[in-house]
């Protein structure tokens, strides 16, 4: 499995505060990868480091085999749509396309023109007058028409209403289907990612709690409900992700490749959101072991 992004003990410090510390992560190629985690987990910092917006304080990071942002060629291979999708308020839509054309050697003018026409953006419209959804679409157009090998999007839909959100993600999916590039997308809303991501990374406090293909994650996670039982008495191949107990009853979220035969348990599947929440809540030591397991 080739990687689009590899980070080893990566860290970024602002003054005395570490925004990202000792982060080791591996993002496989050919996927739409969702990066999810609570606020302050270091998602934005990690993505900015990958885009070459920031210089690491510690550790190292390679994106598509090169140092992020080092050369124009490296910049050309990685697209980046920043949080809040900034555009130049004073420039028109046509100016933005021209900007992209002038500054990118691999610029695909047809893709850009066609997308802008399909979105109904007037070339003479000032970007400052666009709605939030249109602005995000314009920023995405710039990112797509650059024809990157990896497109990084940092919370691109966080500020959009549900309809604009769906249109944005749909546009992204269509482009991925057509041009086949890798996508790394962050969000703190699992529902957004569920729709489009086929690979998920849960990042909590700079560390990967779990990572894997979405379908496989869903297939290997189970919620067990039954009479109260000590976690030590669970089979060795069942890794406890989270546990809660009442006087008589225990509820476990476990991960296992093997089927569960114990008749004492009521076994149910988890939604992706529950799965992510279970990993965010769970004790770090156990889940780190679990994360290693999946990265294998």
């Amino acid at each position: 499995m080739t990687s689009v992004l590899e980070a080893r003990a990566l860290g970024k410090r602002y003054g005395r505060r570490w925004a990202l510390r000792d982060c080791t992560v591996d993002v496989p190629a050919g996927h739409v990868v969702g990066l999810v985690g609570p606020n302050g987990a270091g998602k934005t910092t990690l993505l900015k480091l990958a885009g070459g917006q920031l210089e690491p304080t510690a550790g190292d990071i390679t994106v598509l085999g090169g140092r992020p942002g080092a050369t124009p060629a490296q910049l050309a291979r990685v697209g980046f749509v920043a949080q809040d999708t900034p555009v130049y308020a004073g420039l028109t839509v046509a100016d933005h396309l021209r900007l992209g054309e002038r500054l990118n050697p691999r610029w695909d003018a047809d893709v850009a023109r066609e997308r802008v026409a399909r979105l109904g953006l007037g070339p003479g419209q000032r970007a400052g007058r666009l709605s939030g959804g249109q602005r995000a679409q314009l920023a995405l157009t710039l990112g797509l028409a650059k024809r990157p090998e990896l497109l990084i999007l940092d919370e691109p839909v966080a500020a959009l209403d549900p309809l604009a959100r769906r249109e944005f993600l749909q546009g992204l999916m269509e482009a991925v289907a057509e041009h086949e590039f890798s996508v790394l997308l962050s969000s703190h809303l699992v529902s957004d990612l569920e729709r489009i991501c086929d690979y998920l990374i849960v990042l909590v406090d700079s560390h990967v709690r779990v990572a894997g293909e979405t379908e496989r994650l869903l297939a290997t996670h189970h919620r067990l409900t039954g009479p109260r039982r000590d976690p030590g008495r669970l089979p060795a191949d069942q890794h406890v992700v989270s546990a809660s107990h009442t006087d008589r009853q225990s509820t476990y979220v476990v991960r296992t490749d093997a089927p569960i035969h114990d008749p004492a348990w009521t076994v149910s599947r988890l939604s992706l959101e529950d799965l992510v929440l279970a990993h965010m809540d769970g004790p770090p030591a156990e889940s780190r072991r679990a994360a290693l397991e999946v990265q294998r």
């Binding site: 910049l75 920043a82 900034p86 555009v87 130049y88 004073g90 900007l99 992209g100 500054l103 691999r106």
Partner: protein, 349 residues
């Protein structure tokens, strides 16, 4: 990259260019007339030795446009720093658009180089042109101005020659640097203005006098260097007030002008009343002896041994000073530019 820089810059560039073209046109049209009026005035005043009065009259007549154009050249660098320099990067950081533009296939070093080069050179060229046109236009007035507004005087020196070009380049890069560090447009503009004003004050007051060692020399007391004389006949006391002029060195920049008594002691600085022990009951300084004759009285004061000791820079140091100062600002500009490149690569997100 050049296209983008121009696209973002063209609004203010066109407006500034229009204003400068108007200013240049007005000065070019009125300049020859000014010069010919000066030439005829000089030709006629040398015949009856009334040139001092001609200078005063001529300068008085044009004092307002003289001050106005000088002010324009003085303010131009500050405006460049304020409106071109400070917002250049601060506005991008404020709007987040740096994240857009730094992710196109252009390194941010190159982005900064094009921005600094294009706009910085435009600013320097425009200010240089403006400064030279004003220098040419105000030539006759500079020759007629009284010492406080002569070309070597701190206020006027910065509005003449090539120094404004250095100021503008420096102010621009200063604005860019401050904007990059402060990351907010308005505070960056305020801070740039404050820093630039402080440097522009420190330069003539603290640095420029020492760029070349000044000349110190003593001169006889005469009408040329005395700005006032006071005689009280009833108490028998008299005093002399020295002005900033240096006899025989028209247009010199006097750093100090002290009155020395016959023993060589300093008894008064420039503009202060220096008591002189001269007879006010008889001789040329006695008010009773007919209509007062200032020249004769001062000659008497000089004969008693009173002297002016002046520390000054003669007028012929104008261009050496201009070159040295432009060089200093060029070095400061280069230093700040280097810092900008280092900061944008290493520290700025």
């Amino acid at each position: 990259m050049i296209w983008l820089t121009w696209r973002q810059f063209r609004g203010s560039a066109v407006m500034t260019a229009a204003l400068l073209v108007v200013l240049t046109a007005v000065l070019t049209l009125t300049g020859p007339d000014l010069a010919s009026r000066y030439a005829t005035g000089i030709a006629s005043c040398t015949q009856d030795d009334s040139c001092a009065r001609f200078y005063d009259r001529f300068f008085d007549e044009y004092q307002l446009p003289f001050l106005a154009v000088s002010l324009v050249v003085l303010l131009l660098p500050a405006l460049v720093g304020l409106f071109w320099g400070a917002p250049l990067i601060a506005r991008e950081l404020e709007a987040g658009t740096h994240l857009l533009v730094w992710n196109q296939s252009v390194t941010r070093g190159r982005w900064l180089a094009v921005k600094l080069g294009l706009i910085g050179l435009t600013a320097a060229a425009a200010t240089c042109l403006c400064g030279l046109v004003v220098t040419w236009w105000s030539g006759p007035l500079d020759k007629s101005a009284f010492p406080e507004l002569a070309v070597m005087a701190p206020l006027v020196f910065g509005a003449r020659g090539i120094a404004p070009m250095g100021y503008a380049a420096f102010a621009f890069v200063l604005g860019v640097t401050v904007g990059m560090l402060v990351r907010r447009t308005l505070p960056a503009m305020a801070l740039t203005l404050a820093a630039f004003a402080a440097i522009q004050l420190a330069m003539p007051l603290l640095v420029r006098p020492h760029l070349i060692p000044p000349v110190t020399s003593t001169f006889e007391i005469s009408e040329a260097n005395v700005s006032g004389i006071g005689i009280q006949g009833d108490t028998g006391s008299a005093h002399v007030v020295l002005g900033p002029a240096v006899p025989g060195h028209a247009g010199a920049w006097a750093l100090s002008s002290d009155l020395l008594d016959p023993s060589g002691r300093v008894i008064a600085g420039r503009g202060e009343e220096g008591p002189v022990k001269v007879s006010t009951t008889s001789g040329p300084c006695a008010p009773a002896a007919g209509p007062p004759n200032m020249g004769a009285c001062l000659a008497e004061v000089s004969r008693l041994g009173y002297r002016q000791r002046a520390t000054y820079h003669p007028l012929d140091r104008f261009w050496p000073f201009q070159w040295i100062e432009t060089g200093i600002y060029a070095l400061l500009t280069a230093g700040l530019t280097g810092f900008c490149f280092w900061w944008i690569r290493r520290r700025l997100s």
